[in-house]
């Protein structure tokens, strides 16, 4: 058993629902107890969809367990096909139904339905949401493609976009941005799937020259199968960030047999980051956590495009631990592979970042620690399905990223003034960045610095009163770091207690 206050991912059948809800003409009959329909409101509330997800639940109750839950399933299945007339049917079980072992796939077969039926085996007690989505998409692609053969001539510039789904982080706008970018570069985007595709579209996947995997955790398995079965190459460079987008376009053009480099149309991040009021961003310590794709991309942007210092990098996706470990080496930090948010919180406290880039959960942790934060990855809440155009991918995506990552930080002049005049009655470091005031209420009066976990120090390290007072003159967002460095320095050199001199000796020692 695992004690869990919060989970980064839902159960695998939610992943399957995301695939069904992404597509048109696909219905999902889910053998599940009463109450599991809560998942509908992820789509109708968080993503604000206008239609119910195409999911029929059997919603069996205790009294059904005495009778035949298999019959309940068969009835639900038959009714769903009659009512919704889908082109293809997914059938599967949720965690409770998995224990009943009614075999939805076998039962659906006995109904003699005249549409493709895709049985899903999703081990709920082992796997999670992203895995469920990936597996479902793979099964569906295989079922819809069937034994089709590839056309003799395939236009070299034709490609499919694989991976975007319902409830994906900014997938709606990423697709628009990347499609426009590819088309401007002479590529012909054929099928986008699963988002917006029908089963008939999936059947046409082998008719393109190659595949582009935008979200590997959803579509890499399918792309590998298409590569093996049809010799379709696939491109899995993630176009998040300016450099990555350039590389992505170049690779796509190469695959399509086109030459020449892409233009940088629309990239403002490069200039904004170069402009002089971005110099104060240099070396800002940033902690990054999220799904593997977004975390790795964020680390590259942070280091090479914004000039931050990555002080922590991790993911909750064990399936991509290897990739994240490699990226962590690249940025010279310890990788954090964990789906326990308490562990993530500890790591953030330990790393003393000045900015946290994470999920909805890190937003909360950062709020508690009073560290600026921006959201870069699912899981997210309703505010990260915005009305406005907000891709993460491509050049406009980089523009969005520049704004949303820099925005939570203190503006440069404000930061300087804080350091110069610490005792200003309205412009002090207990006051949040002035442009954020509406979003970050003043701290509770009881919450002193000592209560804030980020400023906690070892109980046995003693500071003189003067040294403590001097430490408070360090701007609050780097104060935790200064305290820790000083304490390390004191411990290493056997200094006790810590004086004002020790503080400045440590500062000279660790100067960055």
């Amino acid at each position: 058993m695992q004690l869990s206050m919060w989970t980064y991912e839902g159960p695998p059948h939610v992943g399957a629902m995301r695939i069904a809800a992404s597509m048109e003409g696909v219905h999902y009959v889910l053998h599940a107890p009463q109450g599991d329909t809560y998942a509908d409101l992820l789509f109708t509330m968080i993503e604000r969809r206008k239609a119910r997800p195409p999911v029929t639940y059997t919603t069996f109750q205790a009294r059904d367990l005495g009778g035949s839950t298999a019959d309940v399933f068969k009835t639900a299945c038959r009714d769903a096909v009659d009512r919704f007339e889908p082109d293809a049917l997914l059938v599967g079980a949720s965690c409770t139904a998995e224990l009943l072992q009614d075999d939805p796939g076998g039962l659906a077969k006995t109904l003699g339905l005249d549409i493709p039926v895709v049985p899903l085996e999703l081990p709920s007690y082992q796997k999670k949401e992203a895995w469920g989505a990936s597996e479902t998409f793979y099964r569906l692609v295989r079922a819809c493609v069937g034994n089709r053969s590839r056309p003799d001539t395939v236009a070299a510039n034709s490609c499919n976009l694989l991976g975007p789904t319902a409830l994906g982080f900014r997938n709606r706008d990423d697709v628009r941005e990347i499609t426009a970018l590819l088309e401007a570069n002479g590529l012909d985007v054929r099928v986008v799937a699963p988002l917006g595709a029908r089963p008939a579209d999936l059947a046409m996947l082998p008719e393109a020259a190659f595949n582009i995997v935008l979200y590997p955790e959803i579509a890499e398995t399918s792309a590998r199968w298409l590569s093996k079965a049809y010799g379709m190459p696939f491109l899995s460079t993630i176009p998040i960030g300016v450099a990555a987008t350039r590389r992505f376009v170049a690779e796509a053009r190469t695959l399509a047999g086109l030459d020449g480099q892409a233009s940088n149309d629309g990239d403002r991040l490069t200039w904004y980051s170069r402009s002089i009021d971005s110099t104060y961003l240099t070396g800002k310590r940033v902690f990054i956590f999220g799904d593997a794709t977004h975390a790795i991309a964020a680390a590259r942007i942070a280091t090479h495009e914004l000039g931050f210092k990555v002080c922590g990098l991790g993911t909750y996706m064990r399936e991509y631990a290897r990739e994240v470990r490699a990226a962590a080496r690249e940025h010279d930090v310890e990788p954090l592979i964990s789906d326990d948010h308490l562990e993530v919180e500890d790591a953030i406290v330990e790393a003393r970042p000045e900015l946290v880039l994470g999920t909805q959960m890190e937003r909360h942790i950062a709020k508690r620690l009073r560290v600026p934060c921006a959201v870069i990855s699912a899981p997210v809440h309703v505010q990260d399905f915005p009305a406005r155009y907000s891709p993460q991918m491509g050049f406009e995506g980089a523009n969005v990223i520049f704004d949303s990552w820099v925005h939570p930080l203190m503006m440069g002049l404000e930061e300087h003034l804080l350091a110069m005049f610490r005792d200003d009655f309205e412009f002090n470091d207990e006051t949040p960045a002035s442009h954020l005031h509406a979003h970050s209420p003043a701290p509770q009066p009881a919450e002193t610095e000592a209560d804030t976990p980020i400023a906690l120090s070892d109980q046995d390290t003693r500071w003189t009163r003067e040294a403590e007072r001097e430490l408070k003159k360090v701007p609050f967002f780097v104060r935790g770091k200064a305290r820790r460095n000083t304490e390390h320095f004191a411990a290493e050199n056997g200094i006790h207690p810590i004086t004002v001199e020790t503080l400045y000796d440590a500062k000279a020692h660790f100067a960055r």
Binding site: M1, Q2, L3, S4, M5, W6, T7, E9, G10, P11, H13, V14, E24, P33, Q34, G35, D36, T37, Y38, A39, D40, L41, L42, T44, M45, R48, R49, K50, A51, R52, T56, Y57, T58, T59, F60, Q61, A62, D64, L65, A76, D79, R83, S94, C95, T96, L99, L100, P123, S124, Y125, Q126, K128, M361, H364, K367, H381
Partner: protein, 435 residues
């Protein structure tokens, strides 16, 4: 009181359908119970789905270090039953080390734990032996196969009553127990009114702390503040307590009838009753009057959710002049709801249980002015150009008592007012195509 039960649609045939239920399971009631009982921690023994349900349903509240969590069962737990109890002990130790302030640990059974017949009551007994008196441990079921939404609270309360101290002498026992979780502000208002009627030794169940348990015995009378407390009422009755029958304290009429039932049971004089209730009754009617123009003559359709539906429909029909098309309830406790059903106008369709697709068809065909439904249905209905009031708000908003009568009407009036304010240009059917 009796004339209330004589007329109306008590004999109207109930639509009973079996199909997909679009409802929450009983685990969801933890969301308000953990705020009410301030030293209780609710530990769900379940799957990742249970944990995901709780954080999805609890929205942003999950982030304020809630006093609930899930012990997620894993593959190896299912492989051998013997070590599941060890695993649970380990999780509980870890939890109590993290939250030593917990006075009462509540183990909550879920669908998976019930299907594998994991004996939580045995586990609770064992853990209680280890951790009591510092941490009392009890258990109940909030599984979807056993409970719908508010029924989770019902099971929790009946578990609490099972633990309640027995009277040593008749003088120990509570005179009146008011059962059903109420917002603190409502509890205080009702406590004041009952005290002004001259009734002493009144206890609310649940209390605000786990130690505040009433002593229940044959001298105790109890009244339900919520309509979904079948099991809790039965548990109180096995202790010898006797129920005061009443409709529920929603709206001016409901609150008055509810208080009148208490007053009658305790022999409060008509003069005293009038003196205590006259002013708040007048206030409630005045507050209500603001919203009548929005609600009079409106046709309202209720999907099942919390069992509050018959009471809400009665309030809307009798105090706001609305027309009720269909009242859906996940479950109808015939005895407890009898008063409410008797007050509903003749011809109101009642439905118990659900086949959601067929209910949606009935709803569309009747084309109501306002649909009271869950969040899985509300936006899709709105996109069809229909107006909805999402129903779980009734479980999270203070709506009981005189001072909330206006607020209750406002909850229904708000979507109608909003529709009048916004020029959305949506017409029926338009939104359905853009999914």
């Amino acid at each position: 009181m009796n004339q209330l039960f004589s007329a109306g649609c008590a004999t109207a045939p109930t639509i009973r359908q079996r199909g997909q239920h679009e409802v929450f399971c009983g685990l969801t009631s933890i969301i308000w119970l953990h705020r009410k009982v301030q030293d209780a921690f609710f530990l769900i023994v379940g799957s990742r789905t249970c944990a995901h349900l709780m954080q999805s349903a609890a929205g942003v509240m999950i982030f304020s270090e809630p006093r609930f969590a899930t012990a997620i069962m894993e593959e190896r737990d299912l492989a051998g039953m013997a070590d599941m109890h060890d695993e649970l002990d380990r999780v509980v130790d870890k939890l109590l080390a993290r939250r030593p302030d917990i006075g009462m640990l509540v183990l909550v059974a879920s669908c998976p734990s019930e299907v594998i017949k994991f004996d939580l009551s045995k586990a609770a007994e064992r853990l209680n032996r280890v951790h009591a008196p510092r941490h009392r441990v009890l258990c109940y079921s909030g599984s979807g196969i056993e409970t719908t939404f508010t029924q989770g609270e019902d099971n929790f309360l009946s578990a609490l009553i099972g633990e309640a101290p027995r009277p040593q002498s008749p003088a120990d026992a509570a005179r009146l127990v008011i059962a059903g979780c109420l917002p603190d502000v409502v509890e205080d208002q009702l406590a004041r009114l009952v005290s002004e009627l001259g009734i002493e030794k009144v206890h609310f169940l649940p209390g605000r702390r786990s130690s505040a348990m009433p002593v229940v015995g044959p001298q105790t009378r109890f009244i339900l503040a919520q309509p979904y407390l079948g099991a809790a009422a039965a548990a109180l009755e096995t202790r010898g307590a006797r129920r005061i029958d009443a409709i529920f304290p929603l709206g001016e009429e409901g609150t008055t009838a509810w208080l009148q039932a208490i007053a009658t049971a305790f022999g409060v004089s008509a003069g005293r009753f009038h003196e205590v209730t006259a002013a708040p009754r007048k206030r409630a009617r005045a507050a209500l009057a603001h919203y009548l123009p929005w609600l009079e003559g409106r046709r309202i359709f209720f999907f099942p959710d919390s069992q509050l539906e018959p009471s809400l429909a009665r309030f809307l029909a009798r105090e706001a002049g609305a027309e009720i098309v269909e009242v859906g309830s996940p479950y109808l406790h015939r005895d407890h709801a009898a008063g409410e059903l008797a007050l509903l106008p003749a011809g109101v369709a009642l439905s118990e249980g659900q086949d959601v697709d067929r209910q949606i068809e009935r709803c569309r065909a009747s084309d109501p002015d306002l649909i009271v439904c869950g969040m899985g249905l509300a936006n899709p209905f709105e996109a069809e150009g229909r107006l909805t009031k999402w129903s779980i708000e009734f479980a999270f908003t203070p709506i009981h008592g005189y001072e909330q009568a206006g607020d209750l009407a406002e909850l229904f009036a708000r979507p109608l007012r909003r529709n009048a304010l916004l020029d959305t240009g949506l017409t029926a059917g338009q939104g359905a195509s853009c999914s």
